[in-house]
């Protein structure tokens, strides 16, 4: 089991291989559809981003609201392909990890190889379980987006598995092949 503590260095993610189980401890950021559009709009306008992307890990999630006494509600991954149009722009700025579910486009995988970034799978539909690893959550940008606002999360032993590494391996493709029957 590898432990990642953001900010993550390029060599740390380059040491990972598809299928590796990873625990993340430290600060990660949330962002999904609408937030990604705004982040890329900021880049287009040469404006600063609300957090330092270099070395960061983004979790594709729109959590349920935090009930009293809890840092966050249910918080599992959303489907990643919808962020494919935006992800390469963040990867070239030093984004080191993306947490989500479902396969990624070739352009994203190419950018991951070129700039050193991994795609980490979290269990979809296990939001109550995943929320247990979130210790603190704070909206840091785009508050008007509600569930889609960018949040800074403090996580402890947040469990993920490497789907795409920096060498071009893809866990989904490799594992499905093992169990496919014609």
């Amino acid at each position: 089991m590898t432990i990642l503590k953001p900010p993550v260095k390029r060599e740390d993610v380059e040491a990972l291989e598809a299928g590796d189980k990873v625990l993340i401890t430290g600060t990660i950021y949330t962002g999904r559809d609408a937030a990604h559009k705004r982040l890329v709009d900021l880049l287009d306008g040469n404006k600063p981003l609300p957090f330092d992307v270099d070395g960061a890990i983004i979790f594709y999630v729109g959590p349920t609201p935090s009930p009293p006494g809890r840092p966050i509600g249910s918080a599992g991954p959303t489907t990643s392909y919808r962020m494919d149009a935006y992800a390469p722009r963040l990867i070239e700025r030093g984004l080191r990890g993306m947490i989500g579910k479902g396969p990624r486009a070739a352009e994203v995988k190419d950018a991951m190889k070129k700039y050193g970034c991994v795609y980490l799978g979290a269990t979809g539909g296990a939001g109550a379980l995943m929320a247990q690893a979130v210790k603190k959550a704070e909206v840091i940008a785009f508050d008007d987006l509600g569930p889609e606002a960018v949040r800074k999360l403090e996580v402890e032993n947040f469990p993920v598995i490497v789907i795409n590494d920096t060498k071009g391996n893809d866990l989904y493709i490799e594992n499905v092949k093992k169990y496919k029957r014609e």
Binding site: G62, G73, T78, G124, P147, V176
Partner: protein
């Protein structure tokens, strides 16, 4: 004519929406356990165990099973001898939605398609009505997540495509959906009707209990054939490879136009949340 007060409907529906977000149905839990026995992939088993643990945490701590608490979809069966007193039925359902999603800290996922601005209260609910005989009102609520809905499709096959064409399309749809809709999925198939009717009965098919056999032997056989083929795809729990890609397949069929063979595939994630409310 039997009268049911507006507030009675609103309050009962509101309570049912909240429960559905936190409590996985018995059929679903039994489905997870059956899948766990059949799954060969160690990683697949690990995912299934996480889903069982997730359901236990959700129930005990009242945290939603999934952060995507869905759009609120209602199927109303209204007896011809029932009336709602003190307001309109759609208003009661929308108000119940607004209050349940607010008070139970569920996610509001409804937005403007162009601006993507959130409506803020998860309304409007999607409501379908059927008029039936009698003095009862039966409402089915379904919290439908976006990830699996995005993987659903309607197609207009030609009559010559027949059963094989139908089954091929359904299996291909699940194959192309890969890990996106949160497998193990539940597959609702609607055959016949018109373009929109096929989609509607496919969604109704998703409300059938997991593990329930179709009363029509011809459709039951089709469900079995499709399920077997889907589970041979190898996608597995979480899409990480394995035997169990779908927990069940439900087919509904209605007559169609002589020129057409409408087909809809509505995919549901494993977090299949629905509730039945009787008045």
């Amino acid at each position: 004519m039997r009268s049911i007060p507006y507030n009675t409907i609103k309050e009962k529906v509101k309570a049912a929406i909240m429960e559905a977000a936190f409590i996985a149905g018995e059929d679903l839990m039994a489905g997870f356990k059956r899948a766990l026995e059949q799954e060969e992939s160690p990683l697949g088993k690990e995912i299934l165990n996480q889903l069982i643990e997730n359901a236990e945490i959700a129930r005990k701590e009242r945290i939603p099973l999934c952060q995507d608490t869905g759009l609120a979809v209602f199927f109303v069966e209204m007896g011809d001898e029932v009336k709602v007193e003190g307001g309109l039925l759609p208003d009661a359902l929308n108000e119940a939605t607004k209050e349940a999603y607010g008070e139970a800290y569920l996610r509001k996922s409804a937005c403007n398609p162009f601006t993507r601005k959130n409506t803020g209260d998860n309304t409007p609910a999607i409501i379908h009505y059927d008029i039936v005989k009698g003095d009862k009102l039966h409402i089915t609520f379904c919290a439908k997540g976006g990830g699996s809905e995005n993987m659903s499709r309607v197609t207009m096959l030609t009559p010559s495509d027949g059963k094989k064409g139908i089954e091929d399309f359904v299996v291909q749809r699940v194959w192309e959906a890969e890990a996106n809709p949160c497998p193990p999925v539940i597959v609702g198939v609607g055959i016949g009707g018109t373009f929109e009717r096929a989609a509607l009965i496919a969604k109704k098919a998703l409300l059938e209990p997991i593990g329930k056999k179709n009363p029509d032997p011809e459709l039951a056989e089709m469900e079995e054939r499709i399920l077997k083929r889907i589970n041979n795809l190898g996608i597995g729990p979480g899409g990480l490879g394995g035997r169990i890609t779908a927990l069940d397949v439900h087919v509904k069929m209605e007559p169609c136009h002589i020129a057409s063979l409408p087909l809809a595939v509505n995919i549901n994630c494993h977090s299949s949340r629905h509730a039945e409310i009787d008045f």
